[in-house]
């Protein structure tokens, strides 16, 4: 590719033709401020509406200021990024944005982690001229089971719209209205609940302000922890331990499993358990289901539907229930690990400790916002008592730990409680794209062939490409596997399934880019995909360190089947650990 040379702030830089001023400057270590712009380059995700105009720069010979995010470099160009004219323009732009923004930073859920707030600080804004007479939008708040929308705080960066439409292809959100009332909303400004929203939370993950936040369940958790009649059990999802440390200033990719356990115990949970245990259980059920369908299929049974699709991800479940209801018999019927955990905790474990399920409270710590919705689904409760009572995100847990005057950095390493805290490396890798299917392969291979696996790491299933495929040799039988992360990528594979063109035997789908490590409930990445890569590396490191790395070798899983469930896919296992899917009818409700 042709290389061109330009000068930015008196420094020369060589870049390929087509590079933007913003990227060329970054190459020189010059960080031009941006607000609407966001890039996750490892996942080919870019938001570049060139709408906010914070990134303007002065280009010699050009009459007006040039937005760095959208202006391509030219050979011999001379760019200045911090002239008086530029700084004044930036400040004016910021003052205009702030004039139409609520000034309630003190009590905003995003305070301290808000890109708008940081930008106002960086630009040294000390007053907002005309703020008292400026027009403001007046939207009501919309609270769904997972996500809160507070549109008066929307600055029209349109990152959420890009995630929802271009990356996830969900199409719940779009820019609507004009002028001061311009905001991002579902069709007819209905609530999210009446839109195709899957609650994947990727809009929340990229929102620079407090316009999109999660529903906070910590007050409820605090209440049950203070109630002496309740036994409170907590489960932690695999991706949480690879990200929680970031909220305490640790380097991305720092594993905090032991410190997290200590913190949870200090918060007052009676039993600190691990969703990874339930992930091992999921593999037993889902892996068995895969082999069963595969064997029936190979014997010519036309009722055996292949490919089997993983069903751990609630955002993904919502997606196919809405967009592919005709395929609702295709995914595995296995519940997600969160819900398997709840079902086992409130049956097997409740019996063991002789506590009525109504007095046993199950809290989950999840990297995910859709899990909040999932635990509220009708089919996951018994007589109105939910299997999982509350689900809080990694971010909420961090805030909760800080409120308890604890610093994760200073805590001892703790151990999970038995029996629902024991897990294998296979359960850990559920937290990253490709992990569920790799865990399934480790177990399904040994069950199918009766032989021991020579290698445990299936690196061909790993990585960050949006759609990946691999063929695994099951001792003569080639098992073809597809992997998609991000719902737009999943849609591609699903369209093939619908048209009967899919060549795969099994497909893993995770709704969020990167899998759960990039979930909507994780510490905010602020557009840095290196963070997501570091978390993935941490997950694989935890897997490598585990003495047991195949789900079927987990001694507590073996015991659970012996004592309680019988064998995988038994009637009892079906009753407790499997579910069914529903068509999400499109409801047209017009605003009153």
């Amino acid at each position: 590719m042709e290389t061109i040379t330009l000068t930015i702030d008196n420094k020369k830089v060589d870049v390929p033709r087509g590079t933007t001023i913003l990227k060329a400057a970054r190459q020189l270590g010059i960080d031009i401020p941006t607000l609407c712009y966001m890039e996750l380059h490892d996942m080919n995700i870019e938001n570049r509406p060139a709408g906010c105009r914070i990134c303007v720069t002065e280009v010699q010979g050009r009459r007006n200021l040039a937005p760095a995010c959208a202006t391509k470099c030219e050979d011999g160009m001379v760019v200045k990024t911090h002239t008086t004219r530029v700084l004044n323009a930036r400040r004016t732009v910021m003052e205009f944005i702030l004039s139409d923004h609520p000034k309630d930073c003190l009590i905003c859920p995003k305070s301290g982690n808000c890109e708008l707030q940081s930008m106002a600080h960086k630009l040294g804004i000390r007053e907002i001229p005309g703020a008292e007479i400026a027009a403001m939008s007046t939207y009501r708040k919309d609270t769904s089971p997972s996500i809160i929308r507070d549109l008066d705080k929307c600055i029209m960066c349109r990152r959420c719209e890009m995630m929802c439409n271009d990356v996830q292809t969900v199409g719940a959100l779009s820019a609507v209205n004009r002028g001061f009332m311009a905001a991002v909303a579902p069709a007819f400004e209905q609530n999210l609940e009446h839109s195709p929203c899957t609650y994947c939370g990727q809009c929340v993950a990229v929102c620079p302000t407090g316009a999109l936040t999660e529903v906070d369940h910590t007050p409820e958790v605090l209440r049950v922890l203070a109630d002496p009649t309740k036994t409170v059990v907590v489960q932690t999802a695999p991706a949480v331990r690879a990200a929680l440390g970031e909220e305490f200033g640790m380097k991305p990719g720092t594993l905090v499993t032991g410190k997290m356990v200590t913190a949870l115990r200090a918060l007052g949970f009676d039993y600190v358990f691990d969703t990874d245990f339930a992930a091992d259980l999921t593999i037993m059920e889902e892996g068995t289901e895969l082999l069963d369908r595969l064997n029936r299929y190979l014997k010519g049974d036309k009722t055996a539907r292949l490919p089997i699709l993983t069903s751990c991800c609630p955002g993904w479940v919502n997606f196919f229930e809405y967009y592919f209801p005709d395929l609702k018999e295709v995914p595995s019927t296995a519940k997600s690990p969160q819900q398997m955990f709840g079902a086992i905790a409130k049956s097997y474990f409740a019996e063991k400790i002789k506590v009525n399920r109504k007095d046993l409270v199950v809290v989950s710590i999840m990297p995910c916002l859709a899990k909040k919705y999932e635990c509220q689904r009708d089919e996951f409760s018994v007589d109105g008592n939910r299997d999982v009572d509350f689900s809080i995100s990694t971010r909420e847990l961090a805030a909760f730990i800080k409120q308890a005057n604890l610093d994760l950095n200073n805590l001892e390493e703790g151990e999970f409680d038995a029996p629902l805290g024991e897990s294998t490396g296979a359960g850990v890798i559920f937290g990253t794209t490709g992990g569920v299917i790799e865990a399934a392969v480790r177990t399904a291979y040994e069950i199918h062939t009766g032989k021991k696996l020579d290698r445990i790491d299936f690196t061909e299933l790993r990585g960050l490409e949006g759609v990946r495929q691999a063929a695994i040799d099951f001792d003569g039988l080639e098992v073809r596997i597809g992997i998609a992360h991000g719902l737009g990528n999943a849609r591609k594979l699903l369209n093939d399934v619908r048209e009967g063109k899919s060549q795969f035997h099994a497909i893993e789908v995770m709704a969020c880019p990167g899998g759960c490590i990039g979930g909507g409930g994780q510490p905010l990445h602020h557009g840095n995909s290196e963070i997501i890569k570091a978390r993935a590396a941490a997950i694989y490191e935890e897997d490598r360190k585990k003495p047991l790395r195949k789900s079927h070798e987990n001694p507590f899983i073996i015991k659970l089947y012996e004592e309680f469930l019988g064998k995988p896919n038994s009637e009892k296992a079906h009753h407790l650990l499997h579910t069914k899917y529903f068509e999400k009818k499109k409801k047209i409700i017009v605003k009153q």
């Binding site: 439409n165 969900v170 199409g171 719940a172 959100l173 779009s174 820019a175 609507v176 209205n177 004009r178 909303a185 579902p186 069709a187 007819f188 400004e189 839109s195 195709p196 499109k586 047209i588 017009v590 605003k591 009153q592």
Partner: protein
Amino acid sequence: MSSIKIELRQEDVSKIKEICASFNNDPQELINVLHKCQEHFGYLPAEVQEVISTELNVPVAKIYGVVTFYSFFTMTPRGKHPISICMGTACYVRGAEKVLEEFKKELGLQVGQTTPDGKFSLSSLRCVGACGLAPVVMIGDKTYGRVAPDDVRNILKEYENY
């Protein structure tokens, strides 16, 4: 936004499909499709947007975004007698705003609204090309020139029995 829940009849759905098909169900043609649909129905209720969404394979949120962005598109049905007050430069300097205020007062409407009985709707537009008659008001196809605020009541009287 007022509530307009309409039931589309089968022939309405067929008409929308026909319009979409005439543009090869091309998502790029969304604005042209919306123009044609508004021409046919007089406005673009939610249900019409839903059908277009399915036909063009565009999320309905996007369509709603376009409808609310361009002021020409409306989700409110126009009245039997749509009143348009020209707010072009010539009309404006000769007092169109006062005329508009008078219509608002007489009908109890804001611009973009329709009377509950569906008789009148009120809109403002830019230059109808009759500047010599400024200020100009149009009701349906009929043009009224040199309108003064005092004339408004008499003009509306003409429609008493229609």
